[in-house]
Symmetry: C2
Subunit: 327 residues, 2 copies
DNA sequence: CTCACACGGTGGAGCGCTCCAACACCTCCA
DNA sequence: TGGAGGTGTTGGAGCGCTCCACCGTGTGAG
């Protein structure tokens, strides 16, 4: 049997297709009787409205696209939760696009634009131009992927890195290495860490920024640092994944953590929270960033054309088991 | 300026809208000259075809929906890669739906059906009925769901659990506990482990199955087991997350791993592969499951109506640093 | 008693595409 | 020299909805 349309439902309920449409969209100006008849028909026919038809007709998709770089990078999970918390009740669906999972030929941004989402959240260094006629409002979440005229919400990486380094300094460390990442956020964290270290009169240890900021890269970077600088007693990694790599390297060296080596991460990811890892880290407020991003985007989608807003949330130090005073 | 339509492109290129459509869909029966003119106009106008309009007209979305339970559960990542590897070149987009991120009121399955995806991959315990007129072909990936008449692809959990337990037995362990999970796959693994243990004449240690199979639950279960049975020398956890919880518990007890306690996981997740965790585990062939699922689904979408296929892939033991002979 | 106005409901136009039948035009061979 | 067949292109119908203008009642005020 063919898939039922709104006309089939109308016929089955003995009303017009327009009335069915009103019921489906929850209009208040429908009699209780008609509503029941339509709902009953919908159920009986197993009818599901066609999203394509409705968004074509309404010129609206009720969907928000979220652009992330890789599902494997779990920092986006709390972001998603925060976004959903705000956007869900506002009537929007969330459509996550993982750039790593899009055909390399196909531009992910192009895809979002083609699907006519009502708004876009960018949570990565964006490649193509998000411009063009009829492009929806955009809010940048997290990294400083700078899009002209777009709102942005992020934790203050500069302050976060300062918290991390000051924690280490307060514990009494004076040989401290930073494991930098080559992203926008990574650069801010590295610059801030360098500034705080320099202000404390602590000699700089140069480490090549890791392009992908993964566990493997953190491992190699830490191996290198620990090999070249046996006097290092503390490492501040650009994110939790790299910190876990550093923990692996410490293990390789037979270094006790936190006895011989202290390690601080950044993100307060689910991994950092496990009993095994129990990582001292900086909470980048992902969920709060998501909520604020959702609020800003919702207001833009409602038509606000105020000047671009750039909001910054205060990160927090989370002390766990990987930091202690040096011997 | 208004968003350009196919008519604007046609006018700008001096051809008909039909020709533009042919060019957009890469038809071979278009002259080089026309193609160039259309592509030039597309570029100049910054035109992007409307997905809604095209799928409405074509009665086809070129999209496949993937239903997972939670982004935070990273076992699906390799699955996605495998699926994408096969489905991408076949011309399908992948649309991941995380049930945890859908408004509780809204049925995620309903959403997929409304969006008229051409195929569905189910990688979770499915709630609603995926039936109804015009429902697309469905393939179940993993052992979590059983949908009548749907194809399925999964690793052989029974064989995998056997591999894990036999590895422990071969090392000489005879006090072995299993940390079960309450999912479909979890039950299979638990039953198999119990059977192998029983055949080896090893007394059973009863542990309550964990409902969500997370790190936290693995931690608590292991804490309980280790407390109640001080003679246990090996733990086989239902998945890597729980194994990492168990590792955390071992640390709490001051047990050296693998000296005092051996731990085996299941999934060979990215976490297990880190230098810090370095977990002995069972590779559940997620990427291969994804590829095979993609192949089956593609053939169904091409119209195959052969009898339901149930494919099983052989898991593999990956020995790393968390297992050793008992003292 | 009449008029205005809610209230609940309706048909038609149109959203931006795809697909199909049809159509010029050209080439080639009988 | 005429028709068959191929190549490139075209307009029209229609996909399943939403939105808008409009319409018929019933009700209360003047």
């Amino acid at each position: 049997m063919a898939r039922p349309t709104i006309y089939d439902v109308a016929a089955a309920a003995g009303v017009s297709k327009s009335l069915v449409s009103l019921v489906l969209r929850g209009s208040p100006r429908v009699s209780e009787e008609s509503r029941r008849a339509v709902e009953e028909a919908v159920r009986r026919l197993d009818y599901r409205p066609s999203r394509a038809a409705s968004s074509l007709a309404a010129d609206r998709t009720d969907a928000v696209g979220l652009l992330i770089d890789d599902y494997a990078n779990p920092w986006f999970i709390d972001l998603v939760r925060g976004l959903h918390e705000v956007l869900g009740p506002a009537g929007y669906r969330l459509s996550v696009v993982d750039v790593a999972t899009v055909s390399p030929a196909e531009d992910p941004v192009e895809g979002l634009l083609s699907s006519r989402v009502d708004g876009i959240v960018v949570a990565m260094d964006v490649p193509g131009a998000l411009r063009g006629p009829g492009a929806p409002p955009i809010v940048v979440a997290g990294t400083r992927a700078h899009i002209p005229d777009a709102d942005s919400v992020a934790n203050d990486d500069w302050a976060g890195a300062r918290l991390a380094v000051e924690h280490l300094l307060a514990l009494g460390h004076f040989r401290i290495a930073h494991l930098p990442a080559a992203s926008g956020a990574g650069t801010a964290r590295a610059d801030s860490a360098a500034a705080v270290l320099a202000a404390a009169g602590i000699p700089r240890i140069a480490v090549t920024p890791s392009p992908t900021a993964t566990e493997a890269e953190g491992y190699w970077a830490a191996l290198h640092v620990l090999g070249a600088h046996p006097d290092v007693t503390a490492i501040f990694a650009s994110n939790d994944a790299m910190a876990i790599g550093a923990l692996g390297a410490a293990r390789e060296f037979g270094y006790d953590v936190p006895g011989r080596l202290s390690v601080v991460g950044y993100d307060n990811s689910a991994l950092a929270r496990t009993h095994l890892v129990d990582l001292t880290t900086i909470d980048d407020r992902s969920a709060a960033v998501g909520r604020e991003t959702g609020r800003l985007l919702a207001s833009r989608m409602r038509g606000s054309d105020a000047a671009p807003v750039h909001r910054t949330l205060e990160p927090a130090l989370i002390v766990r088991g990987t930091t202690a005073p040096p011997k």
